[in-house]
């Protein structure tokens, strides 16, 4: 064995690419992969949920209407699957949109009140109260709806029906028990009010002082300042907040289930019993006793709800994106 004590061969000069990818070494690179992996995991989870929905819904969507009518309770005879889901989609949208129409202006009012009108101490307490209300479980809203709200609004609905019955929403006979969509919409509105308020309030508070002062310095009254500086700045945030609220209203199960007298019609009579039903409540109502194809049909309605939510989100994004150029963010 001959050992030559030669110096180690000079290492070939390493040429590093001076790209951004190389500035992350060691754990930084690992960290990037962990974060990216989490992002991918979200997609995988959602794909799994969607896949699950589609696989379980598929038998119902492809079955003949005769088979469905046989297996699924409440399935109208000789109708397509769409005719079966249609009234449910209609009822879901009607309840949620009514709730949104009631809640959004009020929520914006409260948000402005907290961010720009109320004395600072009071505003803090109110902000806290609103956060707390966002956390009240829907079962409790349901209990409250039955025990307190329905008896309270019953006479109001009767009055509306009697004197404003010509208006399509108030037509039909008013229910004596007030277990109708109007009551449900009010409960949903109360329920989503804290969410919309909480998000809008945060956005309004973020309005740059600069813009508020610019408006005031031009001789704007407080409301004019809100109109010129705060509302335009918060517009996209309020839309997001409303969509968040709409999402919760669309998917709300327990409160609707406990309050509404369901029906399966395309009906705008929100004071009349047994006219509409929402998808989530329908699933919860019939799922316990469902078996076989009926389960598939229920999950197919769940898929419909999923698609509605998807569409709503896409619409909201489109609206926000169109206004992006003029948005307050820079």
């Amino acid at each position: 064995m001959t050992t030559t004590d030669s110096p180690p061969a000079p290492a070939a000069p390493v040429r590093r690419r001076r790209s951004s990818g190389d500035t992350e070494r060691g754990f930084s690179r690992t960290f990037r992969w962990i974060a990216t992996g989490s992002g991918a995991l979200i997609l995988a989870t959602l794909a799994a949920v969607a896949l699950f929905l589609i696989v379980r819904a598929w038998p119902a969507m492809t079955a003949s209407s005769a088979e469905l009518a046989d297996a699924v309770p409440r399935y109208p005879d000789d109708t397509s699957f769409l005719a079966y889901v249609g009234p449910l989609v209609f009822g879901t949208l009607l309840a949620a949109v009514l709730a949104l129409l009631m809640a959004t202006p009020v929520a914006m009012g409260i948000a402005l009140f907290i961010s720009h009108y109320a004395p600072r101490r009071l505003a803090q307490v109110l902000g806290y109260l609103v956060d707390l209300l966002a956390a009240i479980p829907s079962v409790v809203y349901g209990l409250w709806g039955i025990a307190v709200l329905a008896p309270a609004v019953g006479p109001v609905w009767l009055w509306l029906n009697e004197y404003l019955g010509w208006f399509p929403l108030f037509a039909g006979g008013a229910s004596p028990t007030a277990r109708v969509l109007a009551t449900v919409s009010v409960v949903l509105a109360v329920m989503i009010l804290p969410i919309i308020t909480a998000v809008s309030r945060e956005v309004f508070l973020q309005t740059p002082k600069l813009h508020e002062e610019a408006a005031l310095a031009l001789g704007a009254t407080r409301w004019e300042m809100v109109r010129t500086a705060v509302l335009p700045f918060g517009q996209s945030g309020v839309i997001s907040a409303a969509m968040l609220g709409l999402g919760r209203a669309l998917g709300e199960t327990m409160a609707v289930l406990m309050i509404l007298s369901p029906g399966f019609l395309y009906s705008f009579n929100i004071l009349q019993a047994a006219q509409q039903q929402t998808i989530a409540a329908y699933i919860a109502l019939d799922f316990p006793e469902a078996s076989g194809l009926a389960v598939n049909a229920l999950i197919a309605t769940g898929l419909a709800l999923f698609v509605i939510t998807l569409a709503v989100n896409m619409a909201a994004r489109a609206i926000v994106a169109r206004r992006k150029e003029f948005s307050g963010a820079n």
Partner: protein, 354 residues
């Protein structure tokens, strides 16, 4: 944060009676422990609570769970083996029986009516506690043919009552329920020419008020003047009730009168050895014909010895006088007549492992 809270609470919380010495159960020969999971009809839930409480009181190491997932869910999960026992408002049909027999193996399925409860026809009219109604009248009211309380059909049967001209508001169950199915079965059997709908768990008529669960229909009925509904008799609170016409007389509901219906009805022929299904007779004099009959399901043999012992012990307890009395007290159900329990007990006692 959550964990810390849980820990601090863990220090002071306990199951009631968990550390009390075992009193009543000491005389029994078997020493049972473990979990037993079942589920099904929510109509039985109150009774099940009493049974579970009583059984767990005898065997403190046992936990019996009953998921009130509904009859269909109970039958399905019993058939898939998820539930060791189940409650169902309807007897198994042929397909379900076949599936269940596959799971249960050679011994077959045990099925008997374990819970019998009168279904009251209840209404909310100020100042009126009880009304007589013939089956035709009841059917016509619920079908929406009779629409006011001072209708002639009601008035003739109640000459003394001061009936208002209020509109009748029918409230039915919005969920799929055994109560609905049993109520419709009654109407369809007794007055088939008026009630032409096929009896099923979902109410067939659209456009009427409805609410989920017994408590839901009761509170809906309480909320409006002039409402009428059908509900488990133990839950109707302060609503007025209908005495139902049977033959020439009108019968108020009572658990005994309800149990008499099953007692007087013939067992369905051609089923398995341990299957006690009944073809209910709705016109026996002196009985209250609107009953909810809910079945108990079990296997005659279980693979697992512990499960076999638990099911056997639990069902034996249910059929004992003590068990029947506990259910009657807490759920207002009808104690099973001895003539019936004597028939069921041998099947239950024959449960084995293997």
């Amino acid at each position: 944060m959550v964990g810390a809270l849980a820990l601090s609470l863990a220090a002071c919380g306990s199951d009631p009676g968990a550390d009390e010495p075992n009193g009543e159960g000491s005389e029994t020969a078997m020493d049972l422990s473990g979990d037993l999971n079942g589920g099904g009809a929510s109509s039985q839930e109150s009774a099940m609570e009493a049974w579970r409480a009583g059984f767990q009181g005898q065997y403190p190491d046992v936990t019996v769970n009953y998921d009130p997932v509904g009859s269909g869910g109970g039958r399905e999960q019993f058939g898939s083996g998820a539930f060791s026992f189940a409650g169902s408002d309807a007897a198994l049909d042929e397909d379900e029986m076949a599936t269940a027999e596959e799971i249960c193996g050679a011994g077959g399925v045990i099925e008997y009516p374990g819970y019998i409860s009168p279904v009251a026809v209840a209404f909310n009219l100020e100042g009126i506690d009880t009304l007589n109604m013939s089956p035709e009248t009841i059917a016509n009211i619920f079908a929406g043919e009779i629409t006011t309380w001072d209708d002639e059909a009601i008035a003739t049967d109640n000459p003394d009552a001061d009936l208002p001209s209020t509109d009748i508001t029918v409230v039915h169950r919005s969920d799929d329920s055994g109560t609905t199915e049993n109520f419709q079965e009654y109407l369809n059997t007794v007055v088939p020419d008026v009630w032409t709908y096929e009896p099923e768990g979902i109410w067939p008529i659209e456009g009427q008020e409805s609410a989920p669960q017994t408590s839901g229909v009761v509170s809906a009925a309480q909320a409006g003047e002039g409402t009428i509904t059908y509900a488990d008799a133990s839950q109707i609170a302060d609503l007025g009730t209908v005495a139902v016409g049977v033959g020439d007389e009108f019968v108020e509901y009572s658990p005994e009168a309800a149990a008499a219906v099953v007692e007087g009805s013939p067992r369905v022929e051609g089923t398995g050895e341990h299957v006690f299904a009944y073809d209910l007779q709705r016109d026996i004099e002196g009985t209250y014909p609107i009953v909810l009959v809910s079945y108990h399901l079990a296997c005659a043999t279980y693979e697992d010895a512990a499960t076999a012992d638990l099911v056997k012990g639990f069902y034996t307890y249910i059929l004992s006088d003590e068990g029947q009395q506990a259910a009657a007290d807490s759920a207002g159900s009808a104690p099973l007549p001895t003539s019936l329990t004597e028939q069921f007990l041998p099947s239950v006692e024959a449960i084995t492992a293997g």
